[in-house]
Structure formats: C-alpha cells, structure tokens
C-alpha cells in the first residue's frame, strides 16, 4: 500500500488521509482552542486572506513544520464554515486547488523515479477516476478520459487532432496533465469543504470568524447589471462582481458577448478585476486574442445557447424563447 507521509499531506491537505492523520494524533477541536494553538488559527486566517485576494498561499515545505501546514488548512475550513460565506469558500477552494496543482505538477515532473510518482498518479486516479500512466518521458491517458475534459477548453491546441495519439492513448506533459484536471480539483476541494459540519467552535476562533465576515463585505458590493443583458451574461457578471470564480467557459461567454455588442477590450477588462485569479496582463492578452486583434487573428464568436446549456451556464428565462445564441437576446423579445 502507498505510504503517505505528513509532508505529502501538507501539500495535499484535502486528502482523506489528512483526516485520519489528525485522528491518530488524538488532537481534538477543543484542544485547538487552547492559546498554545493560536498561531495555527492565525496561520489559517492568513491562508484565507491570501486566497481571498486571489493569491496562492505558498508553503516552504522544507523549512516549515508540516503539521502546522496541515492543521492550518483544517482550521481554515472550520473558520470558513463558521463564517458561512460562499464567496470566501469558493475563493479559498480555487486558491488551494491552484496550490495543489503546483505540487502535483512538480511531483509529476521532478520525481522521475517511479516510486515518487506513485502519489500524484494515485491522487489523480482516486479523485478524478482518470488513470494516468507513464510512457518514457510522457504521461498518457485514455482518449475518452482526455476528450471528456479537453472539450471544455477553447484553445485549438487542446483539440484531439493537435495531440499525439496512439493505441487509444493521449500523450501529455506534466503541466498539461494537471491542467486537464484543474476544474475538477477545485470542485473537489469545494465539495470537501461543503461536506464538513461544524457544530460549535472554540471561543478563540470567534474573533477570526468575525474578521472573515468583515472581509467578505468587500466582495458583496451590489453592482448595476443592465436589463438588456441575457440571463447567462447577467449571471456571469454577477459571479465576477461578487468576486467568485467564473469558469473559463463563462469568461469566454462574457468576453465574446460584450465584444459582439461593440465594447472594446479596455471597456471589458475591468469586469474581471474582482476574479480571484485576476491578472491584468493576462486578462488583456486573452481579451485581445478573443477579439482577433492579436494571435491568429480569428475573432471568436459568442457560444450558442446549446453549448452554454451543456456547460451549465444557461439560465434561460421566458425572454430567451426562440433564440439560439445569447447575441440574439432582446432582438426577438419584442415580437408578440
């Protein structure tokens, strides 16, 4: 059986084994309320603050005490659940999945000998039912497993025709392998947090829970949304304005829709400012690419209602009757 050490758990604290490890130490929630453990509570709070600002919390696994890395993740979940603010939970899940993504990629790439590769491969297989194996320098997965994930990416390089394929397998780099499961990793961590039940918390946690409630206020400013937007676009704008994570396909919808309505890249870019992983340069670059003013010159079109439905991004109202693409919204609405 694969032995997972505390250092591995510090990297991947969302694994079931992390809970088992904690149980084995005999540490209880009440004990964590003791002032001796206050640094862990502070560390946990810091971890959430970093995540909410869209940064990835960094750990120096060599220098730091791995127990505190693991514990601070678990305490962060307790703080988040007690505060009960979905926006913070989503931001935290996203940042933690990005953090784990880094480690997964490193573990896949650097640890070339098979023994070390067991853990990242096991995580990918156990959590996402994707069997990854190694062929020389490459990672390989079955074509259907690849297709089910890659179809959500719009970049042409993810099309199967642009991949190395042989004997029913797709060949990927470590980075590409991890990129393929990014969304699922975020959803997994989010689901894991949602499933935790917190009945009561130690008094020493209260202060930081209150601070989280204050912190969240910054993301809940109400924003004016034009009634002329179709509901899918409104939804996307609302999600972003709340500072929650909008999947790539949702951002693509917003960008293509607004571009089709004549807005410029400079007008659209600020919309993404609140996104947990916002980066001004990347956003501009991607918007310019979509608008066709850079890259291949292809101007991308707004995805169809059917495609949005398949990506769970459609929130149709009766006003949407008779349209097949969001850009048609409002045009037919006036018909009796």
């Amino acid at each position: 059986m694969l032995k997972i050490g505390v250092k591995d758990l510090a990297k991947y604290p969302f694994l079931t084994e992390a809970g088992e490890y904690l149980r084995n130490t005999g540490l209880s929630l009440e004990q964590l309320g003791h002032p001796d453990w206050q640094p862990i509570v502070e560390k946990a709070y810091g971890r959430i603050v970093v995540a909410s600002s869209g940064q990835i919390y960094g750990s120096d696994l060599e220098a730091l005490d791995n127990d505190s890395e693991l514990l601070s993740f678990l305490v962060a979940i307790i703080l988040l659940k007690s505060a009960g603010i979905a926006t913070l939970i989503r931001r935290f899940s996203l940042a933690e999945s990005r953090r784990a993504e880094r480690y997964l990629q490193q573990d896949l790439w650097i640890s070339r000998d098979k023994k070390n590769l067991e853990l990242p491969l096991k995580i990918i297989q156990d959590l996402f039912a994707v069997n990854v194996s190694i062929d020389n320098e490459d990672f390989v997965i079955k074509v259907p497993d690849y297709l089910q994930r890659a179809v959500h990416f719009h970049e042409k390089e993810w099309k199967l025709v642009n991949r190395r394929v042989a004997n029913g397998l797709v060949y990927l780099s470590a980075h590409e392998t991890v990129r393929l499961i990014r969304t699922e990793l975020g959803e997994y961590i989010n689901g894991k947090i949602q499933s935790v039940n917190v009945d009561s918390i130690p008094q020493s946690f209260r202060h930081r829970v209150d601070d989280l409630v204050t912190l969240a206020k910054k993301f809940s400013d109400t924003v004016y949304v034009s009634s002329e937007y179709p509901p899918c676009v409104k939804h996307g704008i609302e999600v972003l304005e709340k500072g929650e994570n909008l999947p790539h396909s949702g951002r693509f919808l917003l960008a293509t829709y607004l571009l089709s309505k004549g807005q410029t890249v400079d007008q659209i870019a600020p919309l993404f400012k609140n996104a947990p992983d916002y980066n001004e340069r990347t956003t501009k670059y991607q918007l310019e690419h979509i608008s066709g003013s850079s890259g291949s010159g292809t101007k991308y079109q707004c995805p169809s209602c059917e495609k949005l439905r398949s990506e769970s991004l459609c929130f149709a109202t009766p006003d949407c009757d008779g349209i097949i693409n969001p850009v048609q919204f409002g045009k037919r609405r006036k018909n009796p």
């Binding site: 074509v143 089910q148 179809v151 099309k159 199967l160 025709v161 394929v165 029913g168």
Partner: protein
C-alpha cells in the same frame, strides 16, 4: 408518392421481410434502445420498444414500414419522451455517403427531375423543356465509382479507429447503407459514454479538422527540423510525415523547403492533407447521441436496397448483394434517361415507356421517383 406505387412497393417489402427473417435481427441490448419507423406519405413513429426478433418481425409484418430505425443510444426507459429516457450511453456511429465526397462522377449519374411535371433530364438546364418550371430535384442512381470511393473512406476510418483509437477489429461493424454509402458502428465500452461535444472532437480528429501547424512542429518563427514529424511516429504526426516526405531520401530537401516556406504555407499543406487523408464522414451523425439510425437488415426506401453488413468490404457489391427483393416481373411505366445495373443486369434507359421489370428493378425505379406502377 401515389397510392398505386405505395401498394406495389409495400407488397415487395412485405414479401422480403416475410422471406428474410434470417437477415433481420434486433441489435445487442435491444430492450434498452429506442425503435422507430416510417410509412410512405406519413410521419415518423418513434419511442418504441422492440424486445426481440419476434416482436420486430411482427412489427414489420403488421406495419410494412418504408424505413425502420433503431437508436445507437441505450436508455433506462427507451419508450418515454426524450427528456425522461435516462441516456446511458451510445455506440459510436459513422455515416459515409458518396454524395459528400465531391466526386467527379456524380454528374454522370444524376438526373434532374422537374418538380412540376416529373420530366427527367441528364443535363442541367434553368428551365424544364416541357413545362417551363424552374424547380428541379436531383436523383442519383447507383454508381460503381461512388461505392469504391466510399469504400476507401471506410478503410481509412477503420485504420484510424484501430491504430490510433485502439478499437478492436471485432468491435467494428461495417454496413452498406442501402443507398449510396456505408454505415459503421463501433461497440467499445470506452467510447460509449462520450457526449455530443466529445464525439464532435473525435470526428474532427478523424476528419483532420482544426489541425494547427504548431502541433506538427511549425511555429511562426524559429523552426527546427527536429520538431517536424517523423516516419516512426504514430497517429496524425506519422501520417503527415509520410505525406510530406514520401520517402526517407526526400526528407532533407522537403524539410528545408517546409522551414523556408514558413507558417502560412504549412497551414495550406495541412489543408491539403485534410482533403486527401481526412476521413469524410458526416459529422452530424456521429455527434448525435439521440439519433435513430437505419436498422440493419431493413430496406432503404430511397432505393429498395437493404442495409446489410459487409463481411468482406473489398469484394462487396451492393448492387448484387443488397438487392434482395423478388425477381417476378411487373409492368411499370419508367422514365429514366440513365442506364442502371442491378444483379449484374442492365436496365434502361427508358423514355416514359411501359416495361416489364423484375420486382427489384421496378421498385428501384419507383423509389428513385423515375417510374410509376401501372
């Protein structure tokens, strides 16, 4: 279609269905599939469950359908409306049709039929010489070249499915469609759960749609020969290498030319490769995971020929092996300006004349709209 024609065709179809129960079977997992059928001059009846061969034979005898269909998908409740069926998976299906291959022979076996007076001509003209109407429908009759070119597409498809996608030969069933092409069905557990979008990308792979130069080693700048595909590689890179270099001795010269010509020129080359090496399937059919697809063993009402499995594709002659209606002579009025060949016999051309034809040929003319029962 007029009543007299329907009577003649239905009696021929019924005779075939009655005599050839041995050819007509429900597919695997029949109870999980949706069946449907059509009768002449009426709409589609679907959402049916046909549990076994006996029920199927009963349906054929009772309804004498013009066309019979069965879903490639499996459902928990195949007889319920689409939203309640509970989709569980679907065989991968492919449709290769000669009309999509842009073959030069098409003009030689296509008849332009005036929609107003049914007058058929071989040459296209703006106006019907008889009634002056400007609306025509096209009718294509059987052509050996179309079949042989379609077979080449089937062979390309089977090759990529087996080498790139690891589908076993025994999981691939090839059928003559009953008209001008072939249907391919893949029963492989790995692929059956794929949704419509995934199947669309799979089709793009087979058709070589959307390939970018970067994937084959050509960037916009700074290109090196080491990143170009080689003969030894598998999948599309290997196939592209064979097309680009043709032989090992030509590699150095071709490599220099490719690198010197740059990105856009390479993009054009990839487009050319798509035209010659991409498999020409109908993407809509493969993407559709709720389709009801023509049932094997049933007759195609566009021709009166049967959809039957091809055991040996190379030697398969649809105009002989799929022409399974009766041989008794019937009198029909035929207006067919082209000669057709069925069961190794030539028929026509006929200029609006009453002729005595074997039933299979008479039904063929009626199904193509080039004749009438008398």
């Amino acid at each position: 279609m007029n009543e007299k024609n329907i009577l003649l065709i239905e009696s021929a179809f019924k005779e075939y269905y009655f005599n050839r129960f041995d050819l007509i079977h429900v597919p695997q997992k029949a109870t999980e599939r949706e069946f449907g059928y059509q009768k002449f001059n009426s709409g589609m009846t679907r959402h049916l469950v046909v549990k076994n061969d006996k029920d199927l034979h009963l349906l054929l005898m009772k309804e004498v359908p013009s066309d019979v269909y069965c879903s490639n998908a499996y459902y928990s409740f195949p007889s319920l409306p689409m939203s309640e069926k509970d989709w569980k998976g679907a065989d991968l299906i492919f449709d290769i049709d000669a009309k999509d291959l842009a073959l030069s022979c098409r003009k030689d076996h296509t008849v332009f039929k005036c929609i107003s007076c049914n007058n058929p001509t071989i040459e296209f003209s703006q106006q019907c010489s008889k009634c002056g109407s400007t609306k025509f429908e096209t009718v294509s009759v059987g052509c050996k070249n179309c079949i042989s070119e379609s077979k080449k597409e089937v062979t390309k498809l089977v090759d990529i499915l087996t080498t790139d996608l690891n589908v076993k030969k025994e999981q691939i069933e090839v059928y003559f469609s009953g008209n001008e092409g072939f249907h391919v069905r893949v029963t492989n557990n790995d692929y059956e759960s794929l949704g419509s979008q995934e199947r669309a990308d799979l089709v793009d792979y087979l058709m070589f749609n959307g390939a970018i130069p970067e994937s084959f080693g050509i960037k916009r700048q700074n290109n090196f020969k080491a990143s170009l595909p080689t003969f030894e590689e598998k999948g599309w890179r290997g196939r592209v290498a064979h097309k680009l270099f043709s032989s090992k001795s030509k590699v150095p010269k071709a490599t220099r030319e490719i690198i010197a010509s740059g990105y856009s020129a390479f993009q054009v080359q990839l487009e050319e490769i798509k035209k010659t090496m991409g498999v020409k399937v109908d993407p809509k059919v493969t993407m559709d995971i709720h389709r009801i697809f023509r049932l094997e063993g049933s007759i195609n009402s566009k021709s009166g020929l049967s959809k039957i499995q091809c055991e040996d594709l190379n030697s398969f002659d649809p105009f002989l092996e799929a022409c399974l209606l009766g041989n008794d002579d019937v009198n029909v009025m035929v207006n067919c300006p082209l000669q057709i060949r069925l069961k190794n016999k030539k028929f026509g051309p006929y200029n609006n004349e009453i002729v005595s034809l074997p039933k299979y040929a008479a039904v063929y003319m009626l199904c193509k709209g080039l004749g009438n029962a008398v």
